[in-house]
């Protein structure tokens, strides 16, 4: 266990295990999250939501609510029809996009659908009044299961599209027919990736503050994308962007579910504009589970074709994506990311994929940690294991045999990507070595003889990170950074990234401090206020450091050029270098400190030729490609025959996220990612009944991992720099999640293989395993 300490005063900080700059406010309870904001005259909103998955609204009676002392307004869908719609940022050919009003108008489409909003000076009063609103519903049959929704005669989610199909999408590469014709073996399997609830510990929250005098809106929101939110909410309300300011205070976790624009963000703005008062809405956990996006929701039908020696030739996929009732910001594009990742780390070039996007009477799905890539990786890694089992090959050997080799990079995949760099065997070999693979297999033999169910699971993964080149993203894939040096020589970084727990106040300060040769404490990193920070894209898709970092790097290079020109002016020489916080004349050795140079720039008395006053640079960096981190996870499990409970005996994670800026933070990202992958593998599961009622509607019934449910993660790394950016970084936010679930499931299936088990769908609950063991015992 490595203990960290305060950073060294000088010296190279990148690569050091440093504690975070942002923590003092967080550990003392003095940080400001949305719910901590209190504005003069602030009102509180409570939202009335549909208890039905599908129903016609016959009438809404808000009389009692309006008569409740302290209630100032009630709005329903009839009042808000002109606002919006809630935006879908995705475009696919033939995509059916239902009009998504911010409040339901004549019909509700999922449990949790907002129907009315009550506003009062006191939130207890607002809650009471919300209870008194009578909504008369004509309940309709619902479609809650995506495969059932596709069957003829299923209830239509949107009556205008009776087949419940929002889109179909086809992509192929290579010659799949040839691959399957040449194959010695074809393995087929249906694999699901169940719906999950992102569950950041902080639910969503909004404070909207309309200033009637300025005709300007300030919107405080717990979001991952302040600038995009500003653009889109301004559009929904018909406001100018320069009269719309989004402030993102501390964000208590996002995991993709705050990479969105929600009805409530526009609704609170609408209410504040109507009332001329600030209005706060904080989502309850109940609401969070029914009204914030869910993730995953895949049913995949896969076929893998291979030669007898294990050489993979091709992969076919039919992907049924449960979209929910509407498209949120990125809903329909998430499964297309799964298709991009289909080849994994393997050399085969023949793939074909068909996606059917299905409407259901459930809350929309959208990006959740990994967004499409965990689903793809899980499916591929399960298929590779099944292929290995079929061919009686070792799962490690079959992977090593099929990996793209280091000399093949940049590698063009069958799905149109260009992998940047990789030494795919390194993390696997390292994981096998750390785990003691050969000894584990021997132990497994002994355990089997003794009647024990011990499993060893391997998953290797490739990830597509650093979203992304602008042509590949709906809103632009660049990122921005501004570096300002104040007259006293202290440095402020304004980043368009909007970190929310990833530690970029520290990693970005490490980068800036190193480039400028100053101390970590001399740098402040600021994000999340559109009135202060230049336009940015935000933090998601493991892009914070991988796109925001290089933007900062280039801004720093330009700043250093500027400093050098001021140095030349100050030192009266054209042979000057910038180093260690000062300009040094190479001839005389005379120096001018950063503070002197910055001071001079603001005094502007000796301006260098063609130079403007002030010491500030801004850089918008467009990445030339994605980055492709990779890794290998090895999991040892033992199953209790009597109960079906799975115990994780070892968890070895070897992740290659390119250059590491701060190992402490990278480990934290891996641990957290593994926890969410493990949640999917073993515990988490959204349960809707046939009527679209969410049965796993609270933390009492939806099991996110607790401390007692997590194994010790042995986290290790290899470092293969990315050539895509000057920092060599690749991104690590989603790695743990992607590597985890297939490694765990492969391990459990391995443990049960002696009973004839070849595949199990997640989550691997004790009951499911126990049932399998009973069947095995009977067989």
């Amino acid at each position: 266990m490595a203990t960290t300490a305060a950073p060294p005063a000088t010296g190279k900080l990148v690569g050091k295990r440093l504690r975070r700059k942002e923590d003092p406010r967080l550990i003392t309870g003095t940080a400001t999250y949305v719910d901590d904001i209190k504005l003069p005259g602030m009102h509180h909103a409570c939202i009335v939501r549909s208890p039905y998955a599908a129903a016609r609204i016959k009438s809404i009676d808000a009389k009692a609510a309006l008569e409740t002392p302290g209630v100032v307004a009630v709005y329903t869908g009839a009042d808000t029809k002109e606002v919006g719609p809630v935006p879908c940022g995705a475009s696919l050919p033939g995509l059916r996009v239902p009009h998504h009003y911010i409040l339901a108008t004549d019909r509700v489409y999922f449990v949790g659908h907002p129907v009315a909003v009550v506003v009062a000076g006191d939130k207890y009063v607002a809650r009471d009044a919300a209870d008194s609103i009578e909504v008369d519903y004509d309940v309709l049959p619902a479609a809650a299961d995506p495969e059932k929704a596709l069957t003829p005669g299923a209830p239509a989610v949107h009556p205008e599209w009776p087949d419940n199909t929002a889109f179909t999408y086809h992509q192929e590469g290579g010659d799949i027919a040839q691959a399957f014709a040449e194959a010695d073996v074809i393995v087929k399997q249906r694999i699901t990736s169940q719906r999950l609830i992102p569950t950041p510990m902080e639910t969503r929250g909004v404070v909207a503050d309309w200033k009637p005098g300025d005709k300007a809106l300030t919107l405080y929101s717990s979001t991952q994308i302040p600038h995009l939110l500003r653009s889109l909410v301004a559009g929904m309300l018909g406001l100018a962007e320069n009269k719309t300011r989004v402030v993102t205070p501390e964000v208590g976790g996002g995991f993709g579910c705050k990479l969105n624009v929600y009805a409530e963000e526009a609704l609170m703005s609408f209410v504040s504009m109507k009332l001329g008062k600030p209005v706060k809405w904080i989502e309850s956990r109940r609401e969070n589970y029914v009204a914030t996006i869910h993730g995953r929701g895949h049913v995949d039908y896969l076929e893998i074709a291979a030669k007898k020696d294990g050489t993979i030739l091709g992969l076919k996929l039919k992907l049924i994506q449960d979209l929910g009732a509407y498209h949120q910001l990125l809903t329909p594009v998430i499964p297309t990311l799964s298709v991009l990742m289909m080849p994994g780390l393997y050399r085969f070039r023949n793939v074909t994929a068909d996606i059917v996007g299905v409407f259901t009477n459930c809350v929309p799905t959208d990006a959740y940690r990994g967004a499409g890539r965990p689903e793809a990786t899980h499916a591929i890694e399960r298929m590779v294991d099944m292929l290995a089992a079929e061919l009686k090959l070792d799962p490690a050997d079959i992977r090593l045999k099929n990996f793209i080799q280091p000399e093949e990079f940049p590698f063009a995949t069958a799905t149109g990507l260009t992998y940047d760099s990789g030494q795919y065997d390194l993390p696997l070999r390292k994981a096998l070595e750390i785990g003691g693979y050969a000894a584990l297999r021997a132990e497994q033999q002994t355990a089997r003889v003794a009647g024990k169910l011990m499993g060893i699971g391997i998953a290797t993964y490739g990830e597509i990170c650093a979203f992304g080149p602008s042509p590949a993203t709906p809103a632009g894939g660049w990122e921005s950074a501004t570096v300002k040096v104040d007259p006293d020589g202290k440095v402020t970084v304004l980043t368009g990234s909007c970190h929310h727990g990833q530690g970029e106040e520290t990693t970005f300060a490490q980068i800036a401090a190193d480039e400028l040769g100053i101390g970590l404490d001399d740098v402040v990193v600021f994000r999340g206020d559109t009135a202060i920070v230049q336009y940015g894209i935000g933090t998601f898709g493991s892009r914070g450091t991988a796109v925001g970092g290089p933007a900062l790097y280039y801004a720093l290079q330009n700043l250093k050029k500027k400093l050098k020109r001021y140095g030349e002016s100050a030192l009266g020489s054209d042979d000057v270098r910038y180093e260690a916080g000062q300009c040094i004349c190479n001839k005389t050795g005379k120096t001018a400190s950063l503070a002197q140079l910055a001071g001079a720039s603001y005094r502007a008395l000796k301006l260098p030729p063609d130079e403007e006053p002030g010491m500030q640079t801004t850089f918008f960096w467009e990445p030339p490609n994605f980055t492709f981190p990779f890794g290998a996870h090895l999991v040892v499990t033992e199953i209790d025959r009597d109960t079906g409970r799975i115990e994780i005996k070892r968890y070895v994670a070897v992740d290659d996220c390119g250059k590491i800026i701060n190992p402490l933070i990278v480990d934290g990202q891996v641990h957290g990612g593994v926890a969410q992958g493990l949640g999917q593998a073993l515990y988490e599961q959204v349960v809707y009944d046939d009527n679209g009622q969410l049965l796993s509607g609270e933390l009492t019934d939806y099991a996110i991992p607790k401390a007692t449910m997590m194994p010790w993660v042995e986290s290790h790394h290899t470092e293969t720099p990315s050539p895509v950016n000057p920092l060599g970084v690749k991104g690590v936010g989603e790695a743990g999640t992607i590597g985890c679930s297939p490694a765990v499931v492969n391990s459990v299936v391995d443990a049960l293989s002696s009973l004839g088990v070849r595949h199990l769908d997640m989550p691997l609950t004790p009951e499911k395993i126990w049932n399998v063991i009973q069947q095995g015992a009977r067989a």
């Binding site: 939130k123 207890y124 809650r127 009471d128 209870d131 309850s284 109940r286 009597d642 109960t643 515990y683 349960v687 049965l695 796993s696 933390l699 009492t700 019934d701 939806y702 099991a703 996110i704 607790k706 449910m709 004790p766 009951e767 126990w770 049932n771």
Partner: protein, 262 residues
């Protein structure tokens, strides 16, 4: 998250509490079950009487009748009581399985027993222990009910609406004991929990929680056949068949652990 309005009064004594309950107030003890339900508006009592300020009702003491645990003893107090750990370790062990640290700090044995949640932990131990539950009312004074008669149905006890649990009396242990629990991972409630009291000869009794609407008493631990036919709960976390089998598995485990301590 926001409860309905209610009238609140803190009972100044147990007698005062009985009076208020007789007048229709809902008793609030640790609040670990009641307050979440009030926040979700599943419960909306008009009047609440807070038992939390009654002095001295969290006692744990021993006499010839056994060990007396006052209704307001918290799960933490039961878990850590030296007297119980020595004299009735099953009750302490069971208390340690309830909820989490914060819940054990606030939740009381009287509140839990009165609530009679079908997945709660205490009922298993109490029926295995043949504990006696003393209830009291203004109307009828005190009466003692055996644990197996006390738990009537889901969330339903033998206590009348105007009666409060005053204390629980458990025997001073002469057998080996153990509580074994299969947790529902989200809520921490028992899918099944089995409390065993077993002698060196392997004979003894069991209490099972989580399986049915009320705790199940098995008076002959060598015969688990009763578990095959008991009505078994089913929910999204465990179907009846699995619950039933797990009741047997955890019974065997509890018996083995208890016997090892006998």
């Amino acid at each position: 998250m926001i409860p309905h309005s209610f009238d609140y009064a803190a009972a100044t004594s147990f007698a005062d509490a009985l009076e208020q309950v007789a007048a229709g107030a809902k008793p609030l003890s640790g609040g670990m079950s009641l307050i979440p339900m009030m926040k979700l508006r599943l419960a909306a009592p008009e009047r609440v009487v807070d038992l939390g300020r009654i002095q001295g009702l969290n006692y744990i003491h021993q006499d010839q009748a056994g060990i007396h645990v006052g209704a307001l003893a918290t799960h933490f107090e039961v878990e850590t009581s030296a007297l119980l750990r020595a004299g009735c370790p099953l009750l302490s062990e069971t208390a340690g399985w309830i909820g989490d640290v914060q819940i054990r700090n606030r939740g009381t044995i009287g509140g839990s027993v009165a609530h009679a949640d079908p997945s709660a932990d205490y009922p298993a131990a109490l029926v295995a222990l043949d504990a006696r539950i003393v209830v009291a009312s203004k109307r009828g004074g005190e009466r003692t009910v055996g644990a197996n008669d006390f738990f009537v149905d889901a969330l339903t006890t033998a206590a009348e609406p105007d009666e409060l649990v005053k204390e629980i009396i458990v025997p001073v242990e002469t057998m080996g004991t153990s509580y074994q629990k299969l947790l529902q991972p989200a809520s921490g409630f028992a899918i099944v929990g089995v409390a065993a009291r077993i002698g060196q000869d392997g004979h003894g009794r069991l209490g099972v929680t989580g399986l049915g609407a009320r705790p199940i008493l098995i008076t002959d631990a060598t015969d688990l056949a009763a578990l095959n036919t008991t009505e078994a709960n089913s929910d999204i976390h465990a179907a009846s068949a699995y619950r039933r089998e797990m009741a047997k598995v955890y019974a065997r485990r509890a018996i083995a652990a208890a016997r090892a301590r006998a």
